[in-house]
Each structure stands twice: as C-alpha cells, then as structure tokens.
C-alpha cells in the first residue's frame, strides 16, 4: 500500500492528544475514526465537540477500517490495544513514558524507547514512532505548508521502511517535514529528556541531531 492511498485515519484514544490529532487530520482532509475502549455512544458527545467531523466507533472498527492507526491511549493502558486487529496495519505510536503520570512500569525503564516495548507487544503491527516530541497544543498551532522556510520537522523511526514513508507523507499533509530516523531503536534519540524532544527543529537541524545521536550510540538491527 503506497502512502498516497491513506484516506482514513483511525485514532485510538480520545484524550488531549487523540482529539488534537483528530482535528489536525480532519483539517488535512482525512476521514477520521476515533475510538476508546468504551462503547462509541459514550464518547459521541466528546468526539462531536472536540473533533467535529470525526466519527466515534468501536476500537476494532477504528483499527480495521483505517489505512493508518494512531496509538494515543495513556501508555499505562497499552495492553488494552489489540495486537490482532492491528496486525499488518501501519500504526503511529505517539505515546511517551513518564513515570510521574503512568506510575513506574518496569518494562519501560532503562535505555529502551517505549515504542520498542509497544512494538514487541503488538508483534505484527508495522509501528512507526513519531509525533511524540510535539506538544498536543502545538500540533495545530505549529503546522505550516510544505516549502515554508520555518516549517517544523518531526523525526520518524520504524522497522518497516514503507511504513515510515507512508507516515512521512501523512506528517507532510498535517503540516510538518518528516525526517527519517531509520530503525525503531533510533526513537531513543527523540525520547523524553533528549535535545530533540525538548526543542522545536527544522529539517536540517533535526537531521544533524539525529545523525549525531546515531553516531554516539549506533543501534543494531532488531532481533
């Protein structure tokens, strides 16, 4: 499936992040489905007010009916995501691990990107790590058209090159330059606390930062 055929975006999670991404995806003319673990009737009002134009659906429908699925549930609830319905799908992991909010979760401690843990749990999903290093209120405010000299850049990491390309095209339509960071383990270089995470970068600066990080800690291929 090529990037150009992304029409429907599914968003799992209807909190600040999920609804902000829903609004931005709607602005970029995607069809947007939003789901939580609750029956859609329970979030209909929320979706109507926070992302008018998006549709509240059950989680398995959001997964199966979408070309691209965004994972935006609280990270502590990642095991509520269904590996089967996300198998083979291109998923975007925007979730960050932050112990003060999530509580300490042993599997996320240490020098591992939270996405690597999520990828392992979701096994056959084609997980792409991006959008975790932009604040949810910035997603709408910082968007700029392609070619704009001050356009903000976002790093994209994932083990599936075609999935990365699809997501890069999605980011471009949202209003951001995508910078390919290669394999999923590279996501460690734009986790919470890293210079990339803490700043706003344009394309060339982002590339320099990612290259520098790769040089410092080269990552091996996934096992």
């Amino acid at each position: 499936m090529s990037g150009n055929s992304t029409r429907t975006v599914g968003i799992l999670g209807a909190g600040q992040v999920g609804t902000a991404l829903a609004r931005q995806a709607l602005k970029a003319a995607y069809e947007v489905l939003v789901a939580t673990t609750r029956p859609p009737a329970e979030i209909e009002l929320l979706v109507e007010v926070m992302a008018p134009g998006a549709k509240a659906v059950p989680a398995d429908v959001a997964a199966r009916a979408s070309d691209l699925v965004i994972l935006a549930v609280p990270l502590a609830k990642y095991r509520q995501l269904d590996p089967e319905s996300l198998s083979g799908k291109i998923t975007i992991d925007v979730m960050n691990y932050w112990a003060p909010t999530d509580g300490t979760l042993a599997e996320f401690e240490g020098n591992v990107s939270s996405s690597e843990v999520v990828q392992q749990y979701l096994r056959y999903t084609r997980l792409v790590r991006t959008l975790n290093h932009i604040g949810y209120h910035d997603v709408e405010e910082d968007a700029l058209p392609a070619g704009h000299p001050e356009r903000r850049a976002l790093a994209v990491a994932g083990n599936d090159a075609e999935a990365r390309a699809t997501v890069a095209e999605f980011l471009d339509r949202l209003g951001y330059d995508a910078v390919d960071a290669g394999m999923l383990a590279s996501a460690r270089s734009f986790a919470i606390g890293t210079p990339i995470f803490e700043g706003h970068w344009q394309h060339d600066e982002m590339k320099r930062l990612l290259d520098a990080a790769a040089e410092r800690s080269p990552v091996s291929l996934p096992s």
Binding site: Q16, L46, A76
Partner: protein, 355 residues
Amino acid sequence: MELGIYSFADVQRDPNSGTLGSTADAMRNLREAIALADAVGLDYFGVGEHHTYEMPASAGAVILASAASITKRIKLGSAVTVLSTDDPVRVYQQFATLDGLSNGRAEITAGRGSSTESFPLFGYSLNDYDELYAEKLDLLLKINESNPVTWRGKHRPPLENAWVVPRPERGHLPIWLGTGGNPHSSMRAGYLGLPISYGIIGGQPKRFAPLAELYRRAAREAGVPEANIKISVASPGFIGDDAKAAKDLWSRHWTALMASLGEIRGFAPPSRAQFDHDANRDGALFVGDPEEIAERIVALHKRLGHMRQFLQMDVGHLPQKEFLHAIELLGTKVKPLVDAELRVAGSYQEAVDVR
C-alpha cells in the same frame, strides 16, 4: 464575576539576604495573604495541597481555618485536594469543620494536583490512580449528599450507616472537579453535575472553549440544574503597577519555578521570549498592570463564560511584599475594572446562554 488567588504556600526568599525562609514562615505568610485578599474584596482563596519543601501547603484545611478567623467574606477552598491519596471521610470532616468555623465559606476542589509526592508519602501506587480517584470522588459526593452514608468500594473499607460530622449549615459543600485539558474529565464533571475548575498553565486558555462546551452539554444532557453548571479558571499570574516592571520581575520567579520543575521532569525552562509570548494577550500567564489583566480576563470570559478566575502569583520564591501588593491591585484595581466591563457587556447569564 468572582476573582481570587490560589497558592501552594511558596517558601519565600529574603530579598536582602537571599536566604530561603522557613516552611513555618510560609504558613504565616500565606495566612497574611488570605487576610489581605479578603480585606481588598476578593472573592476566593484556594490552597493547593503540596508536599515539597518549597511548597509545603500539606494541610490546606488548617491554613484556611486559621484564615477563617481573620476574614469575613472571602470563600476558602482547596485548589486542589489530592483526593486519590487522602481519605474522603477525613477530607469532608475537615472542610465541613472549616465551613462551620467560617460561617459557610468552605469549598472543596478535588483533583490530581500537579505533583505526585503524596503517593509514596501515603503509601499509594500511581498505577492505581484512575481507580482511586473515581472511587474516592464517588464516596466524597455520597457523604455530601446523605448522612448517614452507606458505601462500598475496593480501595477503602465499607461504610454502613456511618455518621460523618460536622455538617455544613447550608446542607452541602460546593465540591468542584479540578482538571487540566483532558476531555474525559470535562465530560465526567458534566455528567456528575459538578462545577468544574480548569487549571490552565500553558498554551492558550481560549482553546479551552470546546472543553467548556463539552462540559455544559454533558451537564445539560444529564439534566443538571443551571445553577450547578459553573466554570472557574485557575491561572498563573502577577500584577504590578507598571506592566513592563511586573513582567520583568515575575518572569524571574516563574522561570525559577519552571527550572526546578524541569530538573525533576526533564524539560528545559522557558526562554524570556517564550515567557513574553505566554504573558501576553492569548497566553496562559496573566502578568501585567491592572488594566491589561482586567482586559484579558474579560476577553477570556467572552470565550469561556467562567464565573470565577483565580491567579497563582507566589511562585519561585516571590517576596511577600510583591505578593501582597499584587493581591491588593487585584482586589482594588482589577476587580472594579472587570465588574464594570462585564456590566457593560450585558448580564452573565445572557453571555452563558448564547453559547
């Protein structure tokens, strides 16, 4: 519209010697601030539960009760009570006691709080946060509704026809739901029929308009009486006679707070440019001279229709002198300007119904 202050009892630094004061000083400074707020006609003072050396307001009800004896009119509330790590029976008893002592001026705002020290302190796991909060809120509301109370849950022993005393003379205490920007919280507050208090410390407060709409629609859908559908806004801010001087002074203290938080939480403190952006017009920091702040409060009121806005000014070891003067300006200059402007704009109820 009501205006007020909230504080976490920020420990202050002596402006001459530069040394940090004591946590005991912080208690007395806060009490003095509450007394002044009442004297200058402000409507509300909130004390936010915190358990750090720099912000030691761990026993809010005690502070407020002390202030009750030296104030007449100002409402005294928690902003917030970290309900997940406290016992709802205890919380209710303390604030009902405050209510008696203050002749009916107590309020509770239940919330998450902006820090998590209370979890290890009282032996709770953050992993249980959601369940703890939902359950304890349920019990707190039941206690407010009926006496005696019967209740059972998972995280606390059951109650069987238990008397929780004292009782508020007016029958119930105002219990607010404190929240940030999570849409689920707005929906929950609406369906539960609770007044909602938005803590907006970053981004653009006007972007809370959809959340306010979600809250109101959920409340109306649940058949909540109009009188119980209320929104308040908590904002960082500071007022000085001169706008530029106020921003210059307070930016140092806000940045100091952000720097110490950033050290713990892994973010860089804002630049002066970022501060200036946030401290003007649509930003979240209400810093400036009285005219400017009144204008911004009124502008936000047009979007959110809130009935109360309260500012946190004592951060980053702001000296007591500056804090007290800012309180004085809020009560004597800002409040009359806001009231006048809102009278001109028409009735509050009209503004709310139009939404």
